[in-house]
Amino acid sequence: MRSQFWGLYVREILRTFRNPFVLLITVVQPFMWLAFFGSSFGNVPGGTATLKALFGTGNYIAFLLPGVLSTSMLSVGMFGSMSTIQDKRFGFMKRILITPTSKQLIFLSKALGSASRGLVQIPVMVVAALAFGVSFSLSPLEWAAWVGALLCLAIGFSSLFLAVTAPSTDWQTPGVVSNFITMPLMFASSSMFSSSQFPGWMQAIAKVNPISFSALLGRSFVLGTPPDWTYLGYLAAFAGAMLALGYGVSARWLKVE
């Protein structure tokens, strides 16, 4: 079981790093968020004072970075689903399953493989944020907790995507699911703005949205405010629940071709 998981997991990772285009998009997409969206408050009336009043920091990119990293974990799930559909369409799923490998192991390797791929974005984004003038004074424990939070989020979303797309063999499904999930989860979260300015119904969603937990935890580390460590527990529970969901769904509904 360990052997099969390791083989499939390494395959996922190697396929990513051997495809420069996928790697480039994985890295460039959140960077563009920082560059374009992060710069949109450059000429806000009142300057730094307004930014501090709105975001608790004079550098909006410092506020935005944990949110962008959190929302980018959504696209990680989409890539994992696309890789699974590719395996189904080209028959590789059959090749895997005509060995003593279970569907659940395939799911686990895809979920953890795409989650690991998502973590590549962290160092790139941190370096980019440094270039935009953000300074970091995190302790090793805070770095580890931030990475752990993002890993939980990536595992949760890649599991959710894989569970939803398990019965599908259509190339379009991951994109459609991504559009359906990404937009509401991204905007109904604290990833880009403080949820205190949201209407009541959006605040209700933001309060249970795992993207908010990850964004708020990361933001407290970056801005040096006291972190709410329970967020890490919520994110671990989210990852665990989605893994259990995907594990069960793939055993029953993962289509072979």
């Binding site: 390791w6 495809n19 080209f90 028959g91 003593p100």
Partner: protein
Amino acid sequence: MSLAEGGAAIDVRELSKRYGSVDRGVLALDRVTLRVANGTVFGLMGPNGAGKTTLIKVLTGISDITSGDASVAGFDVRRESLKVRARIGWVAAEVILDDDFSGWENLWLQAKLQALDDWQERANDLLKYFSLDDRKDDKVGHYSTGMRKKLEIALALLHQPSVIFMDEPTIGLDVATRRMLWDIVTGVHKEFGVTVLLTTHYIEEADALCERVGIIDQGRIIAVGSPDELKARVRADLVVLETRNGLDPKLLSSLPGVQDVRAQGNEWIIRVASAEQLLPKLLQTVPSDEVRRISVEKPSLETVFLDLTGHRIGQEEPMRDVRKFYAQMRRART
């Protein structure tokens, strides 16, 4: 039950497979019963859509069984699927490899999937056997079709399986590559002592490679035997007469030596003891302006199939299953 006790590498009993619901679905396999002896090359011959690939899918655990029983390598396909999958190899109709990986990396992945510890020596031996050792570090995306097929067979043999399933292994290949693969299948069987079940709709392939052949049509096994046994069943020539308009079958049946007459559109399949004796009389009886084409077929697996089913192996029914159509298009492209 162990393989030694059972004596059969593959044992299929009253196996049916239905896709979809009872009223609107398709019965792809209809109470198939089949026994493949250990250490033989068995060919499953039939036209596209006959149920060959479905049978392989069921026996390899890719598809569920609707009813009936099957065991492979001594293990029940339903209840002991993982044990079956640890003892079988599979060669697909379309070559399925990871093109981003080298030949050696594909073997590494296969070893991981089969949970093998000491696989490197065996992998090197297989690469040498298939003359791929000097290209093992190249990405398989750069391999020729023949090399890809060889690597796929090497993957199937890596874990020393008892049974290898080859699903139309030579479909879409040129004549030279097909001949090379025939030599490989024969060599693999002799060298590694493995039972081979291959499906094909090439008559000459079944004739050249298989010790025993099962003829499958519309989901049913209609005959099983060695190629010679099957040919001996016909014991007659088949004269195929195509006419411009209809004919009275009694006219043909009354000719001396005619054993049977079957109509298929404007084509008449006349079973006769000796085609040479029939032809002069046939041409005297049927007006010459009525005859569009006459052909004579001596006993072969093709005539066996024609005799048993009333249609030719390459004569397919209209495509009703869209998924099957796309699958065939994909195969044709590779």
